[in-house]
Symmetry: C2
Subunit: 406 residues, 2 copies
């Protein structure tokens, strides 16, 4: 059976849906960009056409996020998983250069503070532990837990924070795609990240992959590094946006010469990317092009305050249906702390052995990609920017109906 796009409501956790109008324009650009007789993937990344695309994307991103000029915008490759390492490598190099006169044997490996609130921040923490390894020598850094909600199986955010004075970085993941908990939760501010507890000289790092562009970023200027894989609210997979405060654009080769830091592949050096306008080598042209179209689309919609209004309406509606269904015993919401509920990824479980029945009915109604992450199972409805309020209302109606039929 061949389906039309309008017959389908795509709740994928990522790669996730994109606006149809954007995809239509991208399909035209793929064959013939702006009447050049060449497709966008067939143009030099150093030509005037692509230069306009990437510069336009940066300008729209800055305007949407109100990003101050203190921060550079980089378009990189490799996704959030690659940034787990790049963040550590660049921050450690910056720290080493700030102590350039200290001989390596006297240089103390810096502490790295991690807030672990779900699967992705746990992975970031694990990567820092790997990069600390230095055989028989001193470790390159000392990663530690500043907070964790692992004991609560990530069904809430951490309840206590213990940041280290002098830590080189403090890391958090704003929205946990798999677990469904988020700092700037739906209910309001009481679950927000404790920005005031992070020491002033510590580089604040946020993984924003799955909530990027869903609303304005609180305290954006306090962050040293914010990164996001595109494949949620921004564009197709294959490009990662990294916002870096300019004092972190450092010469990693000089740090490697000093010693006491892990090696930094040149392609992971933020300074190299910044110095070359993200064109040190060939960038992922098509993912950047589609991201640029999505950014234009968001600007045309009225910016992130408008986007946030719609997203709040979507999340409120879905959680209201789930709470009502939970009261009947038909479902349980995974995240127990209401203020920590993500408004992008909504995991829930179907009780009484009715999961297959739920999924079958969902499939028949055109709902797609509702299965939870393979590591946790259950159901997950991701309601990114390109999922319409209408699609969410249809899902809500189905949940209401399903709960009533229990």
């Amino acid at each position: 059976m061949s389906l039309d796009r309008s017959a389908v409501h795509n709740f994928a956790a990522g790669p996730s849906p994109l606006p149809t109008s954007v995809l239509e324009e991208a399909a035209r650009g793929l064959l013939n960009y702006n009447g050049t007789g060449m497709g966008v993937c067939e143009l030099s990344h150093r030509g005037k056409e692509f230069k306009a695309i990437i510069e336009g994307a940066e300008a729209d991103l800055r305007s949407l996020l109100k990003l101050p000029d203190s921060h550079a915008v980089l378009f990189m490759q490799g996704g959030g998983t690659t940034q787990f390492a790049s963040v550590v490598l660049n921050v450690l190099a910056a720290r080493r250069l700030a102590h350039a006169s200290t001989p390596t044997e006297q240089y103390e490996p810096p502490v790295l503070d991690y807030v672990v609130s779900g699967s992705w921040s746990a992975k970031a923490y694990a990567e820092a532990q790997r990069l600390a390894l230095n055989g028989d020598g001193k470790p390159f850094c000392v990663p530690r837990l500043a907070a964790s909600s692992k004991e609560a199986k990530y069904t809430s955010l951490p309840s206590a924070y213990d940041f280290s004075a002098g830590a080189a970085l403090a890391f958090y993941c704003e929205n946990e795609t798999i677990n469904g908990d988020e700092f700037a939760g739906v209910a309001g501010t009481d679950a927000s990240f404790p920005f005031d507890k992070v020491p002033k000289d510590t580089v604040l790092v946020a993984d924003y992959s799955s909530s990027f562009l869903s609303r304005p970023i609180p305290n954006i200027a306090q962050h040293g590094i914010i990164y996001a894989g595109a494949q949620k609210n921004l564009g197709p997979s294959g490009v990662t946006v990294v916002l870096v405060r300019r004092d972190l654009l450092v010469d990693t080769t000089a740090a490697m010469k000093l010693g006491g830091v892990p090696a930094v592949p040149i392609q992971s050096e933020y300074k190299t990317l910044a110095d070359n306008g993200s064109l040190y080598n060939t960038p992922p042209v098509f993912p950047i092009y589609v991201s640029a179209l999505v950014l234009r689309h968001l600007v045309a919609q009225g910016g992130l305050d408008k986007v946030a209004e719609v997203n709040k309406a979507k999340a409120d509606a879905l959680y209201a249906s789930l709470d009502a269904a939970e009261a009947t015993g038909a479902v349980t919401c995974v995240v127990r702390q209401k203020a920590a509920r993500s408004w992008m990824n909504v995991p829930f479980n179907i009780t009484n052995g009715r999961e297959a029945e739920f999924l079958k009915g969902a499939e028949a109604r055109g709902f797609r990609q509702l299965k939870g992450h393979r590591s946790v199972g259950g159901i997950r409805a991701s309601i990114y920017n390109a999922v319409t309020l209408e699609s969410v209302h249809k899902l809500c109606a189905y949940i209401d109906e399903f709960a009533a039929a229990a």
Copy 2:
């Protein structure tokens, strides 16, 4: 003026032209993949649709290249520039693990042999030198030149080779995109890489970015690692194919624990990618999808022997016109060693101050992206797989006409 694709002949050095039929199919898939009602960029990379795409791409690649099962196929991100580092990191880890019982203080940094025949191999060599840096400690490796044609300004291949017994790797770049020299040159075998001089235990590494899939790969099984950015003959930029002999799929964390090796970001570990079928994290879905379509297209054309026949005809025709024009004094070919002439990238200079005249006439005839790399200037005609013999004949006719009008 809006142009049709048929009005344009695209000689870009990369990102470069793709077959129109492939782009037409990709444009449909972008909106609605196989009647799912969802575009290919909106599908989970772990779903059955994308699994079929990436597995099909690997199967077609193996069949086209006659790649033995001793080698894994990885789809990575970051381009050749990222592989400059990844190659070194994985090979050094493998070497360290092969000497696991040697204490770090007694472990001798291995020699890495580089053949430098142009700008890209020079960059690969420079990256190895960076990664050797270890502050006050022993270097992680000892990169050295096994051969170089720098003195000839890369207008020929190296004339002598001096590989080290016991070197951990021997690196060469099969085709130099900027300089236009290539080991398996158009004229025949006399410029070929000296495979028999590489010690048996040395890992042979080839950067194949700009000649990948232009013909069969000579001595493919002797190589430990072959990599290629997609954006020449394979697909859109954003994906890099890496062929790795399975003994090089090693646990880099274990090597880092032993010490004496540079840190390896997890995303650069070949083993992790191989263990996860290139889906350790979200891959660049669209570039892989289009690459899969191109691979299907090449299989349908009859495989790489057929592709090579057409490419040889294109190169022979273009060099014949250039040689004739050089005889009139109107142009000079950059690469002076005829057997080393690339059949993918053909750089030449227009003499007598007529370059602007040449480019103006070229533009009027629909020839596009003929300017040489910004580092060397001049003209460069890249005649990748998707450039038709007809387009090359039209360029030849123009060169003939231009030379006659001198």
